[in-house]
């Protein structure tokens, strides 16, 4: 039996759509959206495949009409399956009852199609093959078919109108466009009424499937992650181009033979050679096009890749920071432990050595206190508690901190200048205890870095966009070297003789927890300015 050439298109489309459906299902069988989409594609595949088979069946074979009717049952379920898929995907739970009714309707109509002549009354024998004849109820069948599809499209349009998420909007557009293409396949109903033309529904179905495949690869349609190997794409394309090349050579050969009546092997070879010359540049052009469009990735994919890279960088930074922290902590603990250990080692032989006792007991006590202080600072540093934000008068808070530091300010005769923007800001939402600690660390450093009669300025103002409170603390201290500036917020980093080096790390952590930022500028010998930006919740 020869294959009816008119059946090739429908069979190929049917198989491609089935493959797409199986692929979608394989990604996650448990997802209702995938299951319902597979069911919809299965219906289209069965419709097309059955038709492809029917075109090849001899008139005399009795089962031909049964295939027609089975194919129509599959057609009947197409809008029902798509309605089900759309409502599941869009999570329209209120349509559950409608889905049940649709499926019940589908079963009833399938029985009517199979057992009666009300929807399919016979078969036309067209030039391309047999085709079902519409029965008396066929127009009403079409009406309900169209109504269900209409609702599918309406739901998508409404969802698109109100959807803010860019990725979801993109997916809805693809489905809408795809269904639009599939809608053209409804022209296949026309030959049911006696108009003899070859139904091209399989082409629109194939385009629909190709569009959705593209959307899955490039835009993660249905949240399906697809990694397309560059090699596979190239191989498929090269094969396709080679096929086109071979067919072109064959057509030219046929043309020359049938219409020009020549038989010249040399001429055929020259034609094949000429086409071959453009084969490689054409192949390269196609590869470049694929690189630029499909393989380069959609903005969403690039954004995902960037997000992954950022996570890796964050992880690397975190590990680096842990190492830094560990080495700093080791130093801070091991130094005091050394004197304790040395004293313990020598105590038995030096117990009655007055010099030894007088020297080492204060040293060891000091080192024990140091470890204790370190533990407190570490707890402050590691404290995960989120800020307990409350309405706080920021200016009163700063004045309060400065008054507690009077015992350090006054002896050094440091001039304190306050420049507060009282007009625009007074009350902001912060955790007063945490911010007090944060500012205390900075102010203490400033005071300690300054020689006598230094100058300390604290100012507040509103940012230009009115969203941030900016606090600047400027001192005329010794300044911070350029090479040290990037490290001042690192844990255990300090140039002071006393202290654990956690103060500014704690400050940094507190400001960050408040959603703010902290910056430092400094010049050795001139002084340092800290700039803190805090988001404002309520502004008076």
């Amino acid at each position: 039996m020869n294959l009816n050439p008119y059946s090739i298109g429908p069979i190929f489309s049917g198989l491609f759509i089935l493959a797409l459906g199986i692929y979608v299902l394989s990604k996650d069988k448990r997802k209702p959206a995938h299951l319902s989409f597979f069911f919809a594609l299965l219906c289209i595949s069965l419709w097309l495949s059955f038709y492809g088979v029917i075109y090849n069946l001899d008139k005399s074979i009795g089962i031909r009409e049964n295939y027609d009717r089975f194919s129509y049952c599959a057609i009947n379920f197409i809008p029902i399956a798509f309605f089900s898929h759309i409502t599941i995907w869009l999570n329209l739970k209120w349509t559950n009852t409608w889905n049940l009714l649709n499926h019940a309707y589908g079963v009833i109509i399938s029985i009517v199609i199979l057992k009666t002549n009300l929807i399919i009354s016979g078969t036309y024998n067209y030039y391309f093959g047999p085709y079902p004849k519409a029965g008396v109820l066929h127009p009403y069948f079409l009406l309900i078919f169209g109504t269900i599809l209409f609702f599918c499209v309406t739901f998508l349009f409404l969802e698109l109108k109100y959807e803010r998420n860019q990725h979801k909007s993109m997916q809805i557009k693809y489905f809408l466009f795809g269904y639009g293409l599939l809608g053209f396949a409804c022209l296949d109903f026309v030959p049911n009424y006696g108009l003899e033309f070859y139904p091209l529904g399989f082409i629109f179905s194939l385009l629909f499937a190709l569009l959705l495949s593209y959307a899955i690869i490039k835009h993660r349609l249905l949240e399906i992650k697809t990694i397309v190997s560059r090699g596979i794409v190239y191989s498929i394309l090269i094969a396709a181009v080679f096929l086109v090349y071979s067919v072109t050579v064959l057509i030219i050969e046929r043309f020359l033979q049938n219409y020009l009546g020549y038989t010249s092997l040399s001429l055929s070879v020259i034609f094949a050679f000429t086409i071959g010359l453009i084969f490689i540049p054409l192949r390269n052009k196609i590869q470049d096009y694929i690189d630029a469009t499909i393989l380069k990735g959609s903005p969403i994919r690039i954004s995902e890749e960037n997000s992954l890279l950022r996570q890796e960088i964050t992880q690397t930074e975190r590990l680096k920071s842990i190492t830094l922290f560990a080495s700093g902590m080791a130093h801070e603990i091991k130094n005091p432990l050394t004197s304790i250990k040395t004293m313990c080692t020598y105590l038995p032989q030096k117990l009655y050595d007055k010099d030894f006792i007088e020297k080492f007991i204060p040293l060891v006590n000091k080192d024990v206190d140091r470890i204790n202080e370190l533990v407190h600072d570490l707890l402050d540093y590691a404290k995960p508690s989120p800020p307990d934000k409350q309405d706080t008068d920021i200016h009163k808070l700063i004045e309060g901190i400065l008054s507690t530091l009077n015992s350090k300010i006054v002896p050094k005769k440091i001039q304190v200048h306050l420049s507060f923007d009282l007009e625009n800001i007074q009350i902001i939402q912060i955790d007063p205890k945490q911010i007090k600690q944060a500012f205390l660390n900075i102010l203490l450093n400033a005071i300690e870095s300054m020689p006598p009669e230094g100058f300390l300025k604290v100012s507040t103002n509103l940012s230009s966009d009115h969203n941030q409170l900016i606090i600047q603390i400027t001192d005329t201290g010794c300044g911070i070297a350029k090479k040290d500036l990037p490290h001042i917020f690192d844990p255990f980093f300090t140039k002071k003789e006393q202290g654990t080096g956690l103060g500014l790390s704690i400050t940094h952590g507190i400001i960050k927890e408040h959603g703010g930022k902290i910056f430092a500028e400094s010049e050795v010998g001139k002084g340092t300015t800290f700039r803190i930006e805090l988001p404002i919740k309520n502004v008076n």
């Binding site: 080495s327 801070e332 091991k334 130094n335 432990l337 050394t338 004197s339 030894f356 040293l363 300090t494």
Partner: protein, 119 residues
């Protein structure tokens, strides 16, 4: 003649601990930073061994090591640290340090390493 050992550490408790361990065996010079240490090396040519802390607040021990080896290549420098990492050990070795002591140290450990270097 007692060999002279220069101790460079910005922590008083470490200096006193090292003094306790070494004073019966060696003549000691105690300094609290790189600047002072380089000054001593300029004048005290009989210093043969330096015990140098790596993590100091004002200046990093490895920077001081570089300066010492530039000024006095004959001097043996032993690094003292609370946190030994492969990278720092390798860098110290590359800059010319001859040994490494990790805090808290055992007296016999210090004595052994210095004895080895003064020979």
């Amino acid at each position: 003649m007692a060999h002279k050992v220069l101790i460079v550490d910005d922590e008083e408790s470490i200096r006193e601990s090292l003094k306790l361990i070494l004073s019966d065996h060696y003549e000691l010079i105690l300094t609290d930073g790189g600047e002072q240490a380089l000054d001593v090396l300029d004048h005290a040519k009989d210093v043969k061994v330096v015990l140098l802390d790596i993590k100091m607040r004002k200046v990093h021990g490895l920077d001081v090591l570089k300066e010492i080896k530039a000024k006095r290549p004959d001097v043996k420098v032993i690094m003292v640290t609370g946190y030994k990492s492969v990278e720092t050990a390798a860098e110290a070795s590359r800059l010319g340090a001859v040994g490494y002591i990790v805090k808290p140290f055992k007296p016999e450990e210090i004595l052994k390493i210095i004895k080895r270097e003064v020979k």
